[in-house]
């Protein structure tokens, strides 16, 4: 039996900080919308092996959605993506949003960590830094990588529309027809689905399910969140990693219920990720 963790001393180091301006590394999207820009190094190579890291994103230059890849550069311009399409949903306000996500993925000592971004607006920017951890809470080793359990729509996740009946779970929406690997944990981000003209506050409960269409099983029930009309979307609603078994090939889906019925105003977008052994 694995025992908890309480004597797992851990070192932590940051990569990508720009202390001269109290920020992270500038990531710039490509000149074409929804297209990844060039990789940018997040500081110097790691000074020890990480079993996990925390990604910080901030300073969005526009009210838009961003997708960030975190990768390892092999030194020859080849990047192995460790975390694909991390969704930074910046909603309506410039500079008002923050993102911090713990991702228990192993990175070797001496590795160069890079990042790149796509945005729904051409050439827009955000800032990124990473804090690496030599041990994880509980002492478990890092996973090999994260995989996206969705196909982005532009720079959004997958729209989850609860439908026209308030307080009633809507139809299941497919996130992934076939989980690309055996997944042992999941994490996710809910956004505003590109709608920045919402008229009313709303509350939502969202289920994550697995199984074929019409036979979905609720894996994680009733994630509770909401939004008002100023921010127009789910604001920094970030599901940190939780243990969840999803076998290779499984269909993954989500559904929601909402307190309002106004089309579009009731819809969120969900970006879901799996952690692979």
């Amino acid at each position: 039996m694995h025992q908890p963790a309480n004597t797992f001393s851990a070192r932590h180091e940051s990569r990508g900080e720009t202390t001269a301006s109290s920020t992270g590394t500038l990531l710039t999207a490509a000149g074409s919308i929804n297209t990844k820009g060039s990789y940018v190094a997040l500081g110097s190579p790691t000074s020890f092996a990480y079993e996990g890291f925390t990604v910080y994103l901030a300073a969005n230059s526009i009210e838009q959605d961003y997708l960030i890849d975190i990768s390892i550069d092999d030194g020859s311009g080849n990047n192995q993506i460790l975390v694909p399409d991390l969704h930074f949903a910046a909603a309506k306000g410039v500079n008002e949003h923050n993102f911090s996500m713990f991702i228990p993925v192993h990175i070797a000592a001496g590795a160069q960590i890079d990042a790149r971004v796509a945005c729904g607006d051409a050439s827009d920017t955000c800032r990124c830094l990473i804090v690496g951890h030599s041990a994880n809470p509980g002492g478990f080793p890092g996973f090999s990588r994260a995989v996206a359990l969705f196909t982005p729509t532009g720079s959004l996740g997958v729209a989850i529309d609860p439908g026209g009946s308030a307080h009633t779970k809507g139809s299941w929406v497919q996130m992934s027809a076939s989980c690309p690997a055996d997944v042992s944990a999941i994490f996710g981000v809910a956004g505003f689905n590109g709608d920045n003209s919402r008229a009313a506050a709303a509350r939502m409960m969202l289920d994550i399910g697995i199984g074929s269409a019409g036979n979905e099983f609720v894996l994680v029930p009733n994630l509770y969140f909401g939004w008002g009309s100023t921010w127009d979307g789910a604001n920094d609603v970030i599901l940190q990693p939780i243990a969840a078994s999803i076998p290779l090939g499984s269909r993954v889906a989500a559904r929601a219920q909402c307190s309002i019925t106004t089309a579009s105003d009731r819809t969120t977008d969900l970006a879901l990720y799996g952690l692979v052994r």
């Binding site: 694995h2 908890p4 963790a5 309480n6 797992f8 001393s9 851990a10 932590h12 940051s14 900080e17 202390t19 109290s22 920020t23 925390t54 910080y56 901030a58 300073a59 306000g93 410039v94 500079n95 008002e96 911090s100 996500m101 713990f102 830094l129 804090v131 809470p137 509980g138 002492g139 080793p141 890092g142 308030a166 307080h167 042992s184 944990a185 506050a201 509350r203 409960m205 894996l219 029930p221 009733n222 509770y224 969140f225 909401g226 008002g228 100023t230 921010w231 789910a234 604001n235 920094d236 609603v237 970030i238 599901l239 940190q240 939780i242 243990a243 969840a244 078994s245 219920q257 307190s259």
Partner: protein
């Protein structure tokens, strides 16, 4: 060596009110900034949890709240202490999920209460996880490593020199237990009249005054003028550590802005106990 496995486990929610898409309104006290009575979060747990995700939101005004999660039908044991919900300037705009790897027995009754700077509504639900991340068993409890004032965390002022780490602010003079992991939540320190955008880097340190060691460097956090404070996601997510009982814990920051008040955040820091 323990290896991460194919060990997902079950998940269940407690405290949801599906008929109105609400959580459970946590009990607040009178006067403000005092803890209220406990409110049950749905039915007793149907299996043992090794971790929970606490969902907090639906604040009807700009307000700060400190939320306890307890277990027991009466004489509640405080399982998670003073979770900080910084509602900033706008009603209904803040929601947060907080992953807390604590053990909850099968058949336990979960409940919630809070203190609050205004006394308005804040809702809570809990999602229980049968298996901890990576298969790790849950900790025994989660303690606040700070003493709340006005239902806030500890003010961390970077000082008047931009982009320069300020003085260490003491979070606790003596960590009350051996701690195996920490996380932090950041707020706007009650300042709803900020005039400019800012961004900051925050360090967590341990050690005696003037001899602090940086345990966790450069957590990134920014804000602008609409919400007047950092968005309230778990701004410093869970991280492993080994901080012995009795250790002094502190924090410092640097900021792109030097305006007094506007440059300051407040930090609520938590420890997971063996």
């Amino acid at each position: 060596m323990y290896q991460p496995g194919f060990n997902g486990g079950r998940h269940e929610s407690r405290g949801e009110t599906t008929a109105s898409t609400n959580g459970t309104t946590s009990g607040t006290g009178t006067p403000v900034n005092t803890k209220g009575t406990w409110a049950s979060l749905g039915a007793a747990t149907s299996f043992a949890y090794e971790a929970i995700t606490v969902c907090i939101g639906r604040s009807l005004s700009a307000q700060n709240g400190m939320i306890d999660i307890g277990i027991g039908a009466s004489n509640q044991f405080v399982l998670v202490e003073n979770l900080y919900f910084a509602g900033a300037k706008l009603a209904n705009e803040q929601y947060v999920f907080i992953y807390v790897p604590v053990h909850v027995p099968l058949g336990a009754q979960l409940s919630t209460r809070r203190s609050d700077s205004v006394g308005n509504l804040i809702d809570v639900t809990v999602i229980g996880h049968e298996v901890g991340l990576g298969g790790a068993p849950g900790f025994s409890r989660c303690i606040a490593l700070f003493t709340p004032a006005l239902s806030r965390g500890i003010a961390v002022d970077p000082g008047g020199s931009t982009n320069t780490k300020g003085s260490w602010a003491q979070i606790t003079s003596s960590c009350p237990n051996d701690i195996g992991a920490m996380f932090g939540l950041i707020g706007y320190n009650g300042d709803t009249a900020r005039a400019a955008t800012a961004i900051s880097l925050i360090d967590i340190g341990i050690g005696a005054a003037a001899s602090e060691f940086v345990l966790y460097p450069n957590a990134l956090c920014g804000w602008s003028t609409v919400k007047d404070g950092p968005s309230n996601c778990p701004r410093i997510p869970l991280f492993a550590c080994n901080v012995p009982s009795g250790t002094r814990i502190a924090a410092r920051s640097q900021c792109s802005l030097s305006t007094a008040g506007d440059r300051t955040i407040d930090l609520a820091l938590y420890g997971l106990v063996k």
